[in-house]
Every structure is written in C-alpha cells, then in structure tokens.
C-alpha cells in the first residue's frame, strides 16, 4: 500500500500535478500493482549479477564532427512560446535584490 502522502511526494518528483481523486486512485492502483510485484521477493538472487541490457554492450565512440542542419525553422515553429527565434520560458532564478 502506498499512502496518499507518498503519492504526493512521488508526484512532485515526477513533475505531475494531481487532484485529490487522482491521488486516491493512484494510491489504490499502485498498491495493487506492487502486491503483484511482491512475488519477486520469493526469488533467491544471492550471487546473481544484474543484467541492465539484453545483450552484451560496449561503448561505441565516434569523432565529434559538426554537420549542417537546416531544421531551425521546423524546430522553432514547435516551441509553444517563442520570441525572436528564442524559446521563451519562465525565469528560474529568483531576484534576490528585491
């Protein structure tokens, strides 16, 4: 079971606003899914290494070469709010002089 307090905390981490009904529903749904997942606790995983991928991987490096792109217009036109070719967002630093 996940409490509504925990749900509030996770929602903050996940940057999702929730109303009270949604919080309640999620606390219920997540609880049920976690109950199902509990079965993994039965498995003996001592001395087992985790597999983060399905196949063995190695780093692939390549030269850092600049290539031409003429996509600026297509990309800028998708900004929800833009000004003079810039993406306009709310300021994130507080003004301490005030």
């Amino acid at each position: 079971m996940i409490s509504q307090e925990q749900i509030k905390h996770i929602a903050k981490l996940a940057r999702i606003a929730l109303n009270a009904d949604e919080e309640k529903q999620l606390s219920n749904d997540l609880g049920k899914i976690l109950d199902y997942i509990q079965q993994l606790q039965q498995v003996d995983v001592s001395n087992v290494n985790p597999s983060f991928h399905a196949i063995d991987q190695e780093n692939i490096l390549r030269e850092d070469i600049a290539i031409e792109s003429n996509k600026q217009e297509a990309i800028i036109s998708q900004f929800p709010e833009s000004q003079a070719g810039f993406n306009k967002v709310k300021s994130i630093f507080e003004n301490n002089d005030n």
Binding site: I16, L26, K32, V45, H53, A54, A74, F79
Partner: protein, 473 residues
C-alpha cells in the same frame, strides 16, 4: 485488390502491368476513407507522400529498372516512429502538435526500398497498453469483430493490416506489443532480437526492451520486411544487427514446450487450439519435448518494474517547452516553470501513462532502488540464463502468444492488473532479449496466436520454422 496477395505477388503484378502503383494507392486511399471510420486505425494520413512514392515506382517500372525489395508495397507505421515532416503523437495529447524533423532509421530504409507509406497508426499512449483503448485518439476496433479489441499497443498496425488497408505495418514491441495484437487479429508479428533493428527515431518507452518489427499477413512478407529494416546502425549503439543464417530440417529439429505456460489462467479455447497445433506438428514428424522454464513465471513481475522505471526516465523529457501541445501551454498563468511542467504533464498524459510514470518514479526513488529495480534486474539474469540453457537442448520454444482470446472493448480497461496479464507469455522474450514470432493457428472462430521463440539473432531460422508451421496448420 490486394486482399489475398503477398508482397511478391504485388510486385509481380506491378511488373506485369496488371495495375500501377498509383492505382494501388488510390484504391487503398478510397478503402481507408470509407472503412476506417468504423475501425479507427489511422491517426494521420500521408497520402501526398504515398502518391509521390508510387509515382517514382511507376517510373522505375516504365524504365525497366530492377525493383528494390519493397518497391510499390503499401504500408503504414505505428505513430511512435518518426517520419520527417509528419505528425508523431505516440497516441498522446502531450504530443498533439509535434511534427517530426527527421526520419527514423527504419523509415529511411523503407523509403530506400521503395515502400509506399500511407500514414501513421493508432496505439496505446506511448505504447503502454494491451488493448488499444489507452489512446488519446480513441480505441481501435478489431476488424475481425468490431466489438472486440485488436490488442495493443500496436492496435492500429494490426487492425490496418487485418482490414486490408495496407500490405504490412511496422509496430514496436516492449512486452508483446507486436505479437499480442498480431495474435488478436489473425496476423503474423515479429519481435526481433534486441539489437537487430535500429531504435533511432522510435519514441522510447523502455530502452532495454523496445524493438521495432513487422506485422504482416504471412511469414514470407514478415521475412522480407524484416530483412529490409534490420542491420547495424551508427545512430543506435545498442543495434549490432547480427544476422545468422541457418537451415531448418524438420526431421532434425527439437521443439520445447514449457510446461509452465499451460497452467491456470489460460482460456480453454486457446489451450485447445494450441494443443491441436502441437499434435499436428508431432504427426508431421517434429520432435516435441516438454521443458521447464521455472523463472519465466517471474518475467511479468520483472517487467512491471523495469518498464515503468525506464519509462519514467524516458518520459521525463515531455515538459511541453520545446514541442508538444500548444493548448496546454500556460506560461503566463503559472507562478513557476515547475508549475508549467506539472500542469502540462497532468493534462497531457492519460491515466495509464501517469500510473506507470508514478510507479517507475517510486521504484527508482531513494530507499526503494535495491528492493525493486536492482532485484528485477537480477531476476532478469536468471530468466536470460534459463533461455540460454534451454536453447542448448531445443532449437525453438513454442507457447500460446496470449492466454486469452481477443476480449471485448471496455472489459479490462479499468483494471490495470488484469490488463497486464495479457502480456504474461510475451514479456519473457523481451526480458531475455531473444526473438519471437506470433503466427495465427485457429481454423475457425476468433484468432489464436502461436508464439515461436528463437535464440539470439536466429531470425532467419525462426522464419523458416514459422513457414513450415504455417503450411502444416
């Protein structure tokens, strides 16, 4: 016009001049416009692109040029794969206005091979779902029975091929999203080995599980499309594109049936059909043996941790600041940037996507990582080892694709745990990374899929055995 044709038949008839590529495209456009409103498989149409591509193919034929493998073949694409200049929504309100600015590697390959792209197909939002009902564009219906779901998350790709709107489609499979809808719509669906097909330009769900693959009407078509899209790609470091060739001799191969797949929870109709198919195989002289894969039963629980965890990280990028949905932008009304994110993500994501993001965030949060994510990755190792061991003893493993028949719309929508059970038999192949194909095997009634699982990068042999099974049944 193309209902019973294969890719090879279409190309033969184009070359013989029975119809032109442009006639084929116009025929299909008329069919989609007339019949798709009842099915809802398309979310965006790219008819201009299709006509342009068809014209090029007709010119090649007129000039007597050699045709590439997919020249003139009409297809459509799951709407989580990018096509330059065309909308890509991933079935989500948060990407309602997004227009892709480049081609996915698979799209570039399809274009090079002369395929004709008719549009983008419906899906469960961000490919999270097993019924097609979790789409911001409304549910897709199963063309075999309009009261039933086509499966998911590649709901549109399966429905569009089953309805005869296109010859093949591309879907993506993270836990069964190609195989389960192929099974529900009576089609062939391949999940390639992880690392066989480039994921560049696929909207990521769970990066360690996702693969793009074909949905087709028959095994030969699936092989042709797979050959066209697979291969190493410098733009996806996880794509190594190995391609092992091998012969399949029906008298020499050994097929394993894992006993754990025939326990409680499986629909009697599915069990009966699969067992009848297995009997047919035995009669044809195939050596069928019972095997045990005891850790496979934990694959779904493992998936229920790994998928949300990876998805919560992948979907963090959708903040509606650089692209997304202009109507959800609330810049002037909010106190802070964080409030803008929170509002866009509340309104932009549907309930299932929010549920999985929340679960994944929880599983990765401080204090829970070892208990959930790390433990699931360890169980994953055990599942992988179990497959490796099994493939030392048998050549292929067969199971039902899905424990149930196609269910009715609305039947499971509000109960996530029951919905997730649809993925019970398909998730092990994703967790392990091996390849698997679903082929239809019901003679009458609702479709039932038979899943054949092959070893890493053994697609060539998988197609050969699937072709033999297709002929036997």
């Amino acid at each position: 016009m193309i209902t019973n044709l294969t890719i090879k038949d279409i190309q033969d008839q184009l070359k013989q001049g029975k119809f032109t590529a442009i006639q084929l495209v116009d025929f299909l456009i008329a069919k989609i416009e007339k019949e798709d409103p009842a099915i809802n498989s398309f979310v965006y149409k790219s008819y201009d692109l299709a006509r342009e591509q068809a014209k090029k193919v007709d010119e090649m034929i007129a000039a007597g040029k050699e045709l590439p493998a997919l020249a003139g073949i009409p297809c459509a694409i799951k709407d989580n794969i990018l096509i330059d200049g065309i909308n890509c929504s991933a079935g989500s309100n948060i990407l309602k206005d997004y227009i892709a600015s480049y081609d996915a590697t698979v799209i570039q390959k399809l274009k090079e091979q002369g395929a004709i792209i008719l549009g983008k197909l419906n899906l469960d939002e961000f490919a999270m779902g097993s019924s097609g009902e979790y789409s911001a564009f409304g549910p897709t219906k199963n063309p075999k029975d309009l009261e039933r779901v086509p499966g998911g998350s590649s709901s549109g790709p399966a429905a569009a091929v089953a309805a005869g709107f296109c010859q093949f489609s591309l879907g993506s499979d993270t836990g069964g999203s190609i195989r389960q809808p192929a099974s529900f719509c009576g089609l062939v669906g391949l999940k390639p080995t992880y690392g066989a097909v480039s994921r560049y330009g696929l909207i990521s769900l769970a990066s360690s599980l996702d693969q793009i693959g074909p949905i087709t009407k028959n095994v030969d078509d699936a092989r042709i499309v797979y050959q066209a899209i697979m291969g190493k790609d410098p733009k996806d470091s996880t794509c190594i594109g190995e391609d092992n060739k091998g012969e399949v001799d029906i008298k020499k191969i050994k097929i394993g049936i894992p006993k754990e797949y025939f326990v409680s929870g499986i629909d009697p109709e599915v069990e009966k059909t699969i067992k009848a198919t297995i009997d047919k195989l035995k009669e044809s002289g195939v050596d069928v043996v019972e095997i045990s894969l005891p850790y496979n039963k934990y694959a779904l629980a493992c998936y229920q941790i790994l998928l949300p965890a990876e998805a919560s990280a992948n979907l963090a990028r959708y903040d509606n600041i650089r692209y997304g949905n202009k109507e959800l932008h609330s810049g002037d009304f909010r106190e802070s940037l964080e409030e803008i994110y929170r509002y866009a993500r509340q309104q932009g994501f549907g309930p299932e996507v929010r549920r999985r993001i929340m679960l994944g965030t929880y599983a990765l949060s401080a204090g829970y990582y070892d208990a959930y994510y790390l433990r699931a990755q360890k169980v994953r190792t055990l599942i992988q080892n179990e497959f490796r061991q099994a493939f030392k003893y048998v050549d292929f493993i067969i199971t039902p694709t899905c424990p149930t028949l196609p269910f009715k719309l609305g039947e499971r929508k509000d109960d996530p745990v029951t919905m997730y059970l649809s993925d019970l038999f398909t998730t092990p192949a994703n967790i392990a990374g091996v390849c698997a194909i679903s082929i239809p095997c019901a003679k009458e009634g609702l479709p039932v899929g038979l899943q054949i699982i092959g070893n890493f990068f053994q697609e060539d042999k998988l197609f050969k055995i699937a072709k033999i099974f297709e002929e036997i049944k």
